[in-house]
């Protein structure tokens, strides 16, 4: 192959093209084409891809919800068959949890963590890309069950055994569930390790752990939860898969097995999972509320420690999902107690958010509305959660719509609203234009009204005894009115989401006539606001040296002799210009995508035909080897092992990291 020589193209990318032994799969350089997005290792682009994909799946999951709510709007409807209903509510849950909320949180984590800690990228940029592509391939895989699996999984997102076995779920749906979640789980584990190392190792000079923004802290705890909780569901999913595919005896009561094993393993993962869902949102609003109250977060250390406490305590409560499963009174009492205790650190946070606002000069921007809405809605959801903790009460509540109400208030009201607030807050930083505030407020009110209309009545329905996970209900039970109201609420939410999308496109159109937002449109507090909007590819011109919490704020404001806050620098003076001359960035790569594509093929192979496993395995394994052997086009090879520019500098280190990935991958069948 000819050796191609290129003069240097742009200032921010000084690495010349090296020889191209692998032809078109050599590492491309910068740019905006589709090939550049497919091969990007830039944490910001990866974050954007997570976000866009998550929004897509939000619509998919929302559509599934609308179908469910249409069916339930009136009693005894035959709009959906029972089988289809089961598949839809299973996929609705899976989609919303694994394909919407978690990846949207990952979008924020990927985009913001390096910026908030003053770094140029994450510790392992190619692994970061791998996590995204593997997640996406898992997402597509699990949804392909509709087309090639004979329908989606129908066992509920919790997929209890023995219902999940071949006898009661004979279609391939549950196989797609097991393999799909294994693929997605692997992606998240790898990503969590990446982000933990990033936060622990790549902070800017002076950025001690206790000068990190609360968002970074909450995301760090989330990554630890992901890293430690996902292996547990990996075990459960393998046991399920082996039962279904190889006829092992893990969950068959007739063989002497215990179906409760599944429940324990699932919920040991499942409870930390809900904290994985909510902590990023808590972190987001911990950035928004201080900004729009013009006050620092109240009780920073309490916020940090309560987040850590939630992370630890979340491991001790899982069997509150199993109060009526026959675990016996001692277990029930113990888990009831531990569940009551976990309300405490969350209560600390709520008080701290309120105390932050108290006495502040509050601006109700859309982001602030969403943040306050998050606190309010989560409080409601948390209160119903406290009632569940009381095991005798839960005996009536469990498996009714009261539970459905609870978790939608905390996940949607707490998680999703916070993520939406974060979208409005960081939109200018990410995309370089502001989302229109008026339309944003309409969006907010549609969401708040919609969600309360949808999930509020479910408390009543549950207490009246309406069972959950049923495809219809009889007339004459008194469930009719509130079900109809809930359906109207669901369509209101849908309208709100559509309105948000309209806002996105309309604001982009408007932006042509509006001044650019600049680095710091909100007068905010953390380091990402000191770089231009949208963020330059290299992040910081020069890595800042950090001297305090809310470092960016204190570069703009100081105190005068009387202790009053005074402006000491304008944004123009204090912000960075975006000149990335001479900055060395990690090189792009196609191999993460190649590795990722092999995994669903392995999945199809397990389910349909083992030859596909071979093909998929070759792609994945071959991709991993090619990754390790990838030509280095960085003129600074031979850096020490502490070089945190990414693992493209040293083949040997790549072998270690790729080995770890292979070990995790090796468990994917």
């Amino acid at each position: 192959m000819a050796i191609i020589e290129h003069p240097l193209e742009i200032e921010t990318r000084e690495a010349p093209l090296a020889e191209r032994p692998l032809g078109s799969l050599t590492r491309p350089q910068g740019g905006n084409g589709w090939r550049d997005w497919l091969s990007t290792v830039d944490h910001k682009r990866i974050g954007i891809m997570y976000g866009v994909a998550a929004m897509f799946f939000f619509i998919v999951g929302g559509f599934e919800a609308l179908l469910l709510r249409t069916q339930l709007a009136f009693p005894e409807q035959g709009f959906l068959s029972a089988q289809l209903y089961n598949e839809l509510y299973t996929m609705h849950g899976l989609t919303m949890v694994f394909l919407f909320v978690m990846p949207l949180a990952a979008a924020f984590a990927n985009y913001l963590i390096p910026l908030q800690i003053g770094a140029r990228d994450v510790a392992f940029p190619r692994l970061n890309a791998l996590s995204f592509w593997v997640w996406l391939s898992g997402a597509v895989f699990i949804n392909s069950s509709w087309l090639v699996g004979g329908g989606g999984p129908d066992c509920g997102w919790f997929c209890y055994s023995p219902n999940s076995g071949v006898t009661f779920s004979p279609t391939h749906g549950v196989d797609f569930y097991a393999v799909g979640l294994l693929i997605i789980g692997a992606a998240s584990i790898v990503s969590s390790l990446n982000l933990i190392v990033t936060v622990l190792n790549m902070r800017a000079p002076g950025m001690s752990l206790f000068r990190m923004p609360v968002l970074t802290w909450m995301l760090l705890v989330t990554q630890f939860l992901l890293a430690f909780a996902l292996p547990v569901i990996v075990v459960a999913l393998f046991l399920l898969l082996f039962d279904r595919v190889f006829d092992s005896q893990f969950f068959d009561p007739d063989a002497g097995a215990d179906p409760l094993l599944w429940q324990h393993l699932f919920w040991i993962f499942g409870h930390p999972e809900v904290y994985i869902i909510i902590l990023p949102s808590f972190g987001i609003i911990s950035e928004i509320i201080p900004t729009f109250s013009r006050k620092p977060i109240f009780g920073y250390s309490f916020m940090v420690f309560s987040g850590i406490a939630i992370g630890f305590m979340g491991w001790g409560v899982w069997a509150h999902h199993m109060f009526v499963s026959g675990i016996g009174p001692i277990s029930v009492a113990a888990f009831s107690l531990s569940t009551m205790f976990i309300a405490v650190p969350t209560g600390v946070k709520i008080l701290n958010w309120l105390a932050t606002m108290w006495g502040g000069r509050i601006r109700f921007t859309t982001a602030m509305l969403f943040a306050v809405g998050t606190v309010a809605m989560f409080t409601i959801g948390g209160l119903s959660g406290v009632t569940h903790a009381i095991a005798p009460a839960d005996t009536q509540q469990t498996d009714t719509y009261y539970i459905v109400a609870h978790f939608h208030y905390v996940i949607f009201g707490g998680g999703v609203l916070g993520l939406m607030g974060g979208s409005y807050f960081w939109w200018p930083k990410i995309f370089g234009y502001m989302l229109n505030e008026t339309r944003g407020k309409i969006h907010f009110w549609l969401m708040i009204i919609g969600m309360n209309l949808t999930f509020g009545p479910m408390h009543v329905l549950g207490l009246q005894g309406m069972s959950r996970r049923i495809d219809t209900y009889s007339a004459g039970f008194g469930f009719d009115l509130w079900n109809l109201v809930a359906t109207i609420g669901a369509f209101t939410i849908a309208f709100g989401v559509a309105f948000f999308l309209y806002n996105v496109f309309a604001s982009k159109r408007d932006a042509k006539h509006l001044p650019a937002p600049g680095p710091d449109p909100w007068d905010a507090r953390s380091l990402e606001w000191m770089v231009p909007s949208p963020t330059p590819e290299h992040n910081f011109d020069e890595i800042p040296t950090v001297e305090s919490l809310d470092e960016w704020w204190y570069r703009k404001y100081g105190y005068d002799a009387d202790g009053k806050v005074v402006r000491i620098a304008t944004v123009d003076e204090a912000a960075q210009a975006g000149d990335g001359e001479g900055v060395h960035l990690p090189s792009p790569s196609f191999w993460p995508l190649v590795v990722a594509v092999g995994m669903p093929l392995i999945g199809y192979g397990i389910i349909f035909n083992l030859w596909l496993c071979l093909i998929g395995g070759l792609l994945t394994a071959g991709g991993l080897f090619a990754w390790v052997l990838e030509p280095v086009d960085d003129p600074d090879t031979g850096h020490g092992h502490d070089d945190h520019h990414g693992d493209d500098d040293d083949d040997g280190d790549d072998a270690a990291m790729v080995g770890a990935v292979a070990a995790a991958d090796g468990e994917e069948g």
């Binding site: 050796i3 003069p7 240097l8 000084e14 010349p16 090296a18 020889e19 140029r120 392992f124 584990i189 390790l193 933990i196 190392v197 622990l200 190792n201 790549m202 902070r203 000079p205 890293a227 430690f228 909780a229 996902l230 292996p231 547990v232 990996v234 075990v235 046991l239 082996f242 190889f246 092992s248 005896q249 893990f250 068959d252 063989a255 002497g256 097995a257 215990d258 094993l261 890595i543 001359e581 001479g582 390790v628 003129p635 020490g640 092992h641 502490d642 945190h644 040293d650 040997g652 280190d653 072998a655 270690a656 990291m657 080995g659 770890a660 292979a662 070990a663 995790a664 090796g666 468990e667």
Partner: protein, 204 residues
């Protein structure tokens, strides 16, 4: 293949030091090993729960061949020694000696895996297969996962041997050997657990 450049020279405006003083790769490997504890813990717990559930058929505990398994265990334990000797050698820059120890480690690992395969085939002949009963399913899954981890370790070690032959493994990148060594030792530690808890501790 020099390329002409008129562009600015790369400057390192950011520090190479990590905040913890530990390299990214090493920190990541230790974290990964921490997560693996959750994985193997789940598999071990499943086995403990099911180890007496034979569904009227033979249990794994009925047919364990402890002398054979102890030899296997000893082999794996010794492979940890050869692994750390390989690291020690490469830290001193003794590339060939390190390569020899790495190869030995891989071979000992291979002996272990071979022993597992022999053990499994014997068990199957004696009536304990993967699908025989909950106890056997749990046993094979646990030891199978461990065996896959060992096999991946062998692949990693052989990759290091190949890299060493190609002259790419030197004192300056000894940390790669260390990190793969960590993985290998962990796999050994898991076996220490398994050998005691599954094989030696008697079923009630």
């Amino acid at each position: 293949m020099a390329t002409t450049t008129t562009a600015p020279v790369v400057t390192h405006k950011d520090a190479h030091q990590t905040n913890t003083g530990i390299s990214n790769n090493k920190l990541a490997m230790w974290l990964f090993l921490g997560t693996e504890c959750l994985l193997f813990g789940g598999l071990i717990s499943t086995y403990l729960l099911y180890k007496t559930r034979g569904n009227g058929r033979t249990l794994p505990t009925d047919i364990f061949d402890i002398p054979f398994t102890s030899v296997s265990s000893f082999v794996l334990l010794m492979s940890s020694l050869t692994m750390v000797l390989a690291l020690s050698a490469i830290n001193r820059g003794e590339v060939e000696r390190s390569r020899a120890w790495l190869l030995t480690t891989a071979m000992l690992g291979g002996v272990f895996v071979g022993g597992q395969v022999y053990e499994f085939t014997t068990f199957v002949r004696e009536g304990v297969g993967f699908t025989t009963n909950p106890a056997s399913s749990a046993f094979y899954t646990l030891t199978g996962f461990h065996g896959v981890h060992v096999s991946i370790g062998i692949l990693l070690l052989m990759s290091l041997v190949v890299a060493s032959v190609q002259g790419k493994l030197k004192q300056s990148n000894a940390e790669t050997v260390e990190i793969i060594g960590l993985y290998w030792h962990f796999v050994d530690i898991v076996w220490i657990f398994i050998f005691t808890v599954i094989y030696l501790i008697p079923a009630e």
